[in-house]
Amino acid sequence: MRPAVVLENVTKRFEDVVAVDNLSFWVEQGELFGLLGPNGAGKTTTIRMICGLLEPTAGEVWVFNFRQPRDRMAASKFIGYMPQHFSLYEDLTVYENMMFFASVYGVPYSVRRERIEKLIDRFLLTEFRDKLAGQLSGGTKRRLALATCLVHNPPLVILDEPTAGIDPHLRYLFWRFFEELRDEGVTLIVTTHYMDEAEFCERLALMRSGHLIALGTPEEIKRSALRGELIRVTVRTSRLPTRAIANLRCVRSFELVSAGGGQATYVLLVEDAGRDLIEVLRGLEAQGVRLLSIEPIYISLEDAFLALTGGLAR
């Protein structure tokens, strides 16, 4: 089966700013794929190139068998796109917005009505059906946007920051929707800067400053990011025990997280947190450092990301 989306050495330059630099990855059909990175990483630019809304400066973008943006008209029938900002018509009602997009996407008249009613039902929009979109709350607008981008039953759904700025309950609900869609065989590309959400994705592409810095499953990324595990140590001290920690053989690198009030907290990178914990404990006490607490740290994707971008474990 050919991939749903392929990017080959894609670069996008805006005047003198390089928004996306030599990016290559592919998305398998039926995959829930996450595009992860901080604001300004080039996620939206990448998404827009996949949608055919921007022309790459160099490289090729393929969606199914269509070259973007050359085959935009043909490709767009297979893509459901939800932009980052609400971009439906605020002076049309929920139903009218969905009806308009159903008709421009050429959904046959016979199934239009039924499909819209189903989507309204599924995304909990029944009570807002005849309300103007401009009068809806932020979360409801987001549900309407999602429902509208599904109105032509696209096999590929691209969502740009679908959960930015909405409450945790709806965020959870949205990810349930995404997983449901994935289970129905739809390919999803979701961008986010919430690292915790990205754990739901099957595969991830991590971006920073227009570059791809990691690609793989969440576990693969975590493992490759740190090349080890973390221990947090809090010590009582008047003088920072930097030297004592540096003397420990099992510690590959470390970083001062906080200091003050006669306390200091460090994060240490070791090969195996469970095994090396004792060694750290003994080593520090042997050098006269008074420990307040010591514990292994669960590595989140955020830690992995910071590690990959040089914030930790230099």
């Binding site: 949608c51 971009s87 018509y89 605020e90 421009v104």
Partner: protein, 368 residues
């Protein structure tokens, strides 16, 4: 072809936007009503002129004054006893001009001596010098004819006839201009905002993501605005004809068809502006900027022959307003038909096609 959904959507949005309804339907009607209230009807309006008759005992001086105020457009503001007083009144702006009849006017005239009548006009007031000068010239001419008859000398008598007149009222004379302004500025401005509004609100991103062609977007918006602007057109024309008794001498159907052609032309120009503008403010600015030369150089203020050839060829002959005024005046005031104004129709049609197709070709179906 996804034209219908776009038309339906645009119409819905237009009907829901109180601003666009107000601008497109209420404002033109209001302007036409205002205009009719100001210039319609049959009562005469005149500007005041001071008279200093320094020959109050003579009969010919009073005859001349009678002749002067027979002319339309001026009336005696006040009678004074010296030239200085009369000139001072003009200087103070209380009257638009002063007519000074010298001492011994009747006596000198009867003795066959040359006499002078002095006319002082306020050159800063538009139209006033022309109106006053022509009234005085006419009066002097009438006086000479009358004297010639009384004393049996020779006189050359002018016989004046008008073509398409003389029953054209002020209101009828101004109706083509009002129609032109309303059918040009309002639809052009409205449609020029439409695409920019989509861009500014971000809806353009979702719209062009759909399998929709540039033709659908331009054509759909264009058709919707044409339908709405026709309400504007019928409204203003209806008010002029029904409320202010403006008489259409040519076929009404031809007048409506010609107006529709002009409407379509200004809409396509507006669409063209919209495609080129980055935001609503820019579109509005461009619309107004394009409107001003058509106000100055399309034959509203002065006959186009008064305009220097360079400007006339560069601006007048490329302005839809010029062709509209010519054609509309011909059908409404002279009783021409659409066939008689085929050149104006052709000019407007060519401009429409050029603006419309440029808009389609130049519409960017991408972001950034």
């Amino acid at each position: 072809m996804r034209l219908w959904p776009v038309i339906a959507k645009e119409l819905k949005q237009l009907m829901r936007d109180p601003r666009s309804l107000l601008m497109n339907v209420a404002m033109p009607l209001l302007v036409m009503l205002m205009f009719g209230a100001g210039y319609g009807g049959h009562q005469t309006r005149a500007i005041p002129v001071a008279v200093a008759n320094l020959d109050p005992q003579g009969d010919l001086s009073w005859e001349l004054i009678d002749y002067i105020f027979q002319a339309p457009g001026i009336e005696p503001g006040c009678y004074v006893n010296s030239e200085e007083e009369a000139v001072e009144l003009v200087r103070r702006g209380e009257v638009y001009g002063a007519i000074i009849i010298p001492e011994h006017f009747t006596e000198d005239l009867k003795a066959g001596r040359k006499v002078y009548v002095k006319v002082v006009v306020d050159a800063a007031a538009p139209f006033a010098p022309t109106i006053i000068n022509s009234a005085v010239t006419n009066a002097l001419y009438n006086l000479q004819v009358s004297i010639a008859e009384d004393y049996g000398t020779v006189a050359v008598v002018m016989e004046q006839e008008t073509v398409y007149g003389p029953s054209i009222t002020t209101m009828e004379g101004f109706t083509p201009i009002t129609m032109g302004l309303l059918l040009y500025l309002v639809p052009m401005t409205l449609i020029s905002l439409s695409l920019c509004r989509e861009r500014e609100r971000g809806t353009y991103e979702q719209l062009i993501m759909a399998p929709i062609s540039r033709w659908d977007i331009v054509g759909g918006k264009f058709a919707a605005y044409t339908i709405l602007s026709m309400a504007n057109m019928f409204g203003t024309l209806g008010v002029a004809i029904l409320v202010f008794n403006v008489r259409v001498r040519g076929p009404l159907v031809d007048l409506v068809a010609f107006s529709l052609l002009f409407l379509v032309c200004s809409l396509s120009l507006g669409m063209f502006i919209s495609v080129l503008s980055k935001n609503q403010l820019q579109a509005l600015g461009t619309s107004i900027f394009l409107f001003i030369p058509s106000l100055l150089f399309a034959g509203i203020i002065s006959p186009v022959e008064y305009i220097s050839p360079a400007v006339r060829y560069a601006i007048t002959y490329t302005s839809p307003m010029y062709y509209f005024l010519r054609g509309f005046r011909a059908i409404m005031l002279k009783g021409y038909t659409l066939l008689d104004v085929w050149q104006e129709c052709l000019a407007l049609a060519i401009m429409t096609v050029v603006f419309f197709s440029s808009a389609v070709v130049l519409l960017r179906m991408k972001l950034g």
